[in-house]
C-alpha cells in the first residue's frame, strides 16, 4: 500500500478545492468563436507538440542557460587543448591539459616555463693574472726543433740567449 502523500486532514482540505463542471453553453461559445474566426495565433509550438508528442518547442530557461554554459566551457577546453598541443603555433603549457597530452603521447608536451636563473656575480672582481710565459733555455738539437714551431718573439729570445 502506498504511503499517503499528505496527512489525512491536509488531504481532505486539498480535496475540498473542487472545480465545478464546465460552464453552461461552453460548446456554444466555442463554436461561435470558431464561426467568428476568432482563432488563436498560429504557433509552431503546439504544432510540434501535436506531431512529435514533445511538450515544448522552446526549451526552459534553465536548460538554455545550461546549454550556453556547457558550450562556453567546451569551447574553452578545445581552445586550451589546441594551444597546449601546438595547433595554434608553439605549444603553450596549460596545467593538466599539457600533462594529459603528454601521457597520451600524441604531441610533445610543452614544458612549464621556468623563471630565469640568477647569475651569481662575484663579490669582488679580482684582476685576472695573465699567464707568464717562461722563456725556456733550450740548447742543442732541441733548440733547432723548437725554432721551427715557436713564435718569432720566442725565436728572438732564443738567439739572444745563444749570444
Amino acid at each position: 500500500m502506498n504511503q499517503p502523500i499528505f496527512p489525512s486532514t491536509v488531504e481532505m482540505a486539498l480535496n475540498s478545492y473542487k472545480i465545478g463542471p464546465l460552464p453552461d453553453g461552453f460548446a456554444d461559445r466555442l463554436l461561435a468563436r470558431l464561426a467568428a474566426g476568432n482563432l488563436p495565433e498560429v504557433s509552431e509550438m503546439a504544432a510540434a507538440q501535436l506531431v512529435t508528442g514533445k511538450s515544448r518547442a522552446v526549451s526552459s530557461p534553465w536548460r538554455r542557460s545550461g546549454r550556453i554554459l556547457g558550450s562556453t566551457a567546451l569551447f574553452g577546453l578545445v581552445t586550451a587543448a589546441a594551444a597546449a598541443s601546438g595547433i595554434l603555433g608553439d605549444p603553450v603549457y596549460v596545467p593538466m591539459i599539457s600533462e594529459a597530452l603528454g601521457k597520451t603521447q600524441i604531441t610533445q608536451p610543452a614544458k612549464a616555463e621556468k623563471p630565469p636563473e640568477k647569475i651569481a656575480l662575484p663579490k669582488k672582481a679580482l684582476p685576472v693574472a695573465a699567464p707568464e710565459e717562461k722563456a725556456a733555455v733550450v740548447t742543442g738539437k732541441d733548440a733547432v726543433k723548437l725554432n721551427s714551431v715557436r713564435s718569432p718573439l720566442l725565436n728572438d729570445a732564443f738567439w739572444f740567449v745563444r749570444k
Binding site: 502523500i5 499528505f6 496527512p7 486532514t9 491536509v10 481532505m12 482540505a13 486539498l14 475540498s16 478545492y17 473542487k18 472545480i19 465545478g20 463542471p21 464546465l22 460552464p23 461552453f26 460548446a27 461559445r29 466555442l30 463554436l31 468563436r33 470558431l34 464561426a35 482563432l39 488563436p40 498560429v42 504557433s43 509550438m45 503546439a46 504544432a47 507538440q49 501535436l50 506531431v51 508528442g53 514533445k54 511538450s55 515544448r56 526549451s59 526552459s60 536548460r63
Partner: protein
C-alpha cells in the same frame, strides 16, 4: 437515446479528429463534450479565475481544430494533448501576467457553481486555493497535474519539459510548500468536517 447519438458516442477520438481535419464543427462539439472538462479544470486551478480559465480552455480546443490535419492516430490521446497544451498556455499566461504586473490586480469574484454551493466549507476551500496560488508557477502545475489530475510523474514531467528526476524534486518541494502553507493557515479537522459533511 437515438441510434445516431449512440453512433456518435461510440466514435473514437481518432475518428473525430479525422472529421475535425475535414473541418466538421460537429466533431469539435463532440470532442468538447468529451474532453473540454480537462483543460477547464487545469486552467481553473492554475489561474484561479473561471473567466480566464474558460478562455484558456476554449483556446486549447481551438488549437485542436487548427492542428487536426497533423494529428497522428494512435498517439497519447486527445486528453493528454489537451493537458499538455493547457498547462503550457497557463504557464505562458502566468509569466505574461508577472511581466505586465497584471497579477497585482484585484481578484474577480469567484462565480464558480461550487463556491456558492459550499458556503460552509468556503473558508477551507479559499485557504487551499490561496495556498495553491502562492506556489511558484511550475510547482503549482506539478501539484495540479499529479494530485488533482492524477497524472503519472513521467507524463507530468513531459508536460513540463523536464527530466523525471528534476520533476520529482520539483514535486517534492511543491508538496512541502503546500503542506507548510495549509498548516500555517491553521485549517483544523473541525473546519474540514464542515466541508465533508
Amino acid at each position: 437515446m437515438t441510434a445516431a447519438q449512440v453512433a456518435e458516442l461510440s466514435e473514437s477520438d481518432d475518428a473525430l479528429m479525422a472529421q475535425l481535419a475535414a473541418r466538421d464543427p460537429k466533431a469539435l462539439r463532440l470532442l468538447s463534450d468529451r474532453h473540454a472538462a480537462v483543460p477547464w479544470r487545469i486552467a481553473c486551478r492554475m489561474l484561479g479565475d473561471p473567466i480566464e480559465a474558460e478562455d484558456v480552455a476554449q483556446e486549447a480546443m481551438l488549437r485542436l481544430w487548427q492542428y487536426a490535419d497533423r494529428w497522428q492516430a494512435g498517439g497519447s490521446g486527445v486528453a493528454a494533448w489537451l493537458t499538455r497544451v493547457t498547462t503550457n498556455l497557463c504557464l505562458d499566461r502566468l509569466r505574461r501576467k508577472r511581466f505586465t504586473g497584471e497579477g497585482d490586480a484585484p481578484e474577480r469574484a469567484d462565480d464558480a457553481p461550487l463556491a456558492d454551493a459550499e458556503i460552509e466549507g468556503g473558508e477551507v476551500r479559499d485557504a487551499v486555493k490561496h495556498c495553491i496560488e502562492a506556489l511558484p508557477d511550475r510547482q503549482r502545475a506539478a501539484i495540479v497535474l499529479t494530485y488533482y489530475e492524477e497524472r503519472q510523474n513521467q507524463m507530468a514531467a513531459e508536460v513540463l519539459a523536464m527530466q523525471l528526476k528534476a520533476f520529482e524534486s520539483l514535486l517534492f518541494r511543491a508538496r512541502a510548500s503546500l503542506l507548510g502553507c495549509v498548516e500555517r493557515n491553521g485549517i483544523s479537522a473541525g473546519d474540514i468536517s464542515k466541508v465533508t459533511s
